[in-house]
Symmetry: C2
Subunit: 202 residues, 2 copies
Amino acid sequence: MHETRTVTPAGRRILEAAEELFYGRGIAAVGVDLIAERSGVTKRTLYNQFGSKDALVASYLAERDRRWRSLVRQEVESSPDPVEAVTAPFGALRTWSRTSTRGCAFINALAELPDPSLPAYRVVTEQKRWLLELFTDLATAAGCAGPDTLAVRLLVLHEGALAMQPLPFDALTQSTELARELVRAGLGTREPGPDARRRLAR
Amino acid sequence: MHETRTVTPAGRRILEAAEELFYGRGIAAVGVDLIAERSGVTKRTLYNQFGSKDALVASYLAERDRRWRSLVRQEVESSPDPVEAVTAPFGALRTWSRTSTRGCAFINALAELPDPSLPAYRVVTEQKRWLLELFTDLATAAGCAGPDTLAVRLLVLHEGALAMQPLPFDALTQSTELARELVRAGLGTREPGPDARRRLAR
DNA sequence: CGAGAAGTACACTGATCGGTGAACCATGCC
DNA sequence: GGCATGGTTCACCGATCAGTGTACTTCTCG
């Protein structure tokens, strides 16, 4: 029942080109003509598949979100224990940074698309909310005290490291280290909940 | 010897309009014609004053940086003691957020201007470096252990809260609270240095 | 008086923007 | 055969883009 039918082969190539160009140069700076040329496709096909540039932008962000969540899930599930799992997204971020060196694609998109009515805006807020809830679940499962507060703090550390990525400072190392310390400091004061790593569905 | 002569009255109005539009809508999304119209000035005057859009963008960022540093200095100097002063930039951020709700103008600019050769890029890196060094100085002055490490962590918290600003999460409160805890935890293990609040010149 | 600086008015450039219309072609499925 | 689907080719649209040239005005300062 896996519906790979929603996107055609040409659609995939368009999305790949759009992702590289939008992330690398900014959304407004990239024209649809360039995306069509890079993906070896006519502009007509691009519009037949996506309808508008706004819609293509939303698809680009949704696709990137999908890949990011997939990586995080993988990292969480391969964690040796529930405590390590809490900071697994920071490990994912390390991996992610090897190919993405221009900061957070979603924050960057918000910088260019201020209108909350745009479909892309919802994708961005959903992405951050997902990560916040994941942190909450993982912290609860590990038995951390104050999982809600801890989750917000971990999210801030995560976003901070991501935001500073384009600058010549190594923020990720300290961010990860501090995150681990926070998790360790919150242990033992509460009963561990059920292993949240099993609740990663969707 | 204060040289306010570098910018004419028309130049000021152009900068004000540019700041509002660039920050609010994104740099690439705003044309020079619109800026000229909003500032009640001819496009010719704009180009006579700034030479190019790239140069205007750099001026916009530099001016915003100047105002931001001024606010931070003010907040630091009005801190009751050196320990409070370390987290003073978080107080400044609280004030700043009342009028700036679209995240960090500098990070946002980087999202649109990937080319490090652009004059704006240097403005952004300098801005973050300044804040990092300020944190280091303040932490040293307050007698915190490991001031360099602490400064990086405070910077990450600061940037994280700023990056999440456009989203519907209250990150600043937790970010500030955690920053205070970090500073408190690092106290007493080291001799306080000279009061860094006196070394804010420039 | 005269010079220079700041600003206005306005026309104009070539390029690029997002988006459309219409005709045509290939594949595969009923 | 018939017909829908996915794709191509290509010409075209009005709007906007950053940036320039030229001539005129207005003000200040020496």
